[in-house]
């Protein structure tokens, strides 16, 4: 299990990213945040978010029409 899970299903750009940023602050360094989303744009956006912020995108997967991301909190 991830340390925290964020349900961002039904939310549109940029809310999944904004909520993930907030949720990451609650995750200790080295911990993981799982994000569930339905916004197809979130796939490219979470990749860009992680590249820019230095957090690590460990996994992302698609299940039916929802997306799951696992981010490791590696940056400040």
């Amino acid at each position: 299990m991830a340390d925290h899970t964020l349900d961002a299903k039904g939310l549109n750009c940029p809310l999944p990213i904004l909520k993930a940023r907030k949720a990451l602050k609650e995750v200790p360094a080295g911990g993981t945040l799982e994000i569930l989303a339905t916004d197809p744009g979130s796939v490219a956006d979470f990749e860009a978010f992680c590249r820019q912020t230095g957090n690590e995108l460990l996994e992302h997967s698609v299940d039916d029409s929802s997306y799951r991301f696992l981010i490791k909190h590696t940056a400040a």
Partner: protein, 179 residues
């Protein structure tokens, strides 16, 4: 131990990801209709979430976006690209119909309903998120005078400034947008 926990365990000793160089962003916000209010607030909140210091300079019709109570509307007048999804098709509105009283209000309501249905944040929510994320907001002093607003009319937080205040900020920013 679950597989995720194992992943964490395995990568803790790996080399840390280098933090990218910090960039900063500024934008001039000149438009205050419901549709045009979105780009600046979406970009400001997202940039802040990605670690960029952000400054928004509100001038002319962008200034009322700082008012305590927002009642944002839009018009299809002069905007042939505004076509709303309706009954499986996309419907535009001829300019002449936008002159009928109540049509703009109805269009604005439709747009807000559509946004709500699609999970798009309200401008009020995005503005609140921008404030929470410490986005610096500057209210154009000249526009305040011109349209007779005072800081009492505005939300808490914006500072007053003019063109020189913005230019100083822009010279120190990596990304400068005019919206």
């Amino acid at each position: 131990m679950s597989s995720e926990a194992q992943v964490v365990q395995d990568t803790v000793s790996a080399a840390p990801v280098a933090a990218p160089e910090t960039k900063s962003m500024s934008m001039i916000v000149t438009k205050g209709s419901l549709d045009w209010a979105y780009p600046p607030f979406i970009l400001a909140t997202t940039a802040a979430a990605m670690g960029l210091p952000v400054t928004m300079f509100f001038t002319f019709y962008g200034l009322p976006l700082l008012l305590k109570k927002l009642d944002l509307t839009l018009t299809a007048a002069g905007n042939p690209a505004m076509k709303m999804p309706m009954m499986g098709a996309h419907m535009g509105l001829p300019n002449i119909l936008t002159a009928i009283p109540g049509v703009d209000a109805a269009c604005s309501k439709m747009m807000k309903n559509l946004m709500n249905k699609k999970g798009v944040a309200s401008i009020e929510d995005l503005r609140e998120l921008a404030i929470e994320a410490d986005v610096r907001m500057i209210a154009c002093q000249m526009t305040m005078d011109l349209f007779e607003y005072s800081l009492d009319d505005m939300i808490e937080g914006p500072e007053l400034g003019g063109a020189a205040t913005y230019i100083e900020c822009a010279t120190q920013s990596d990304i400068n947008l005019f919206i």
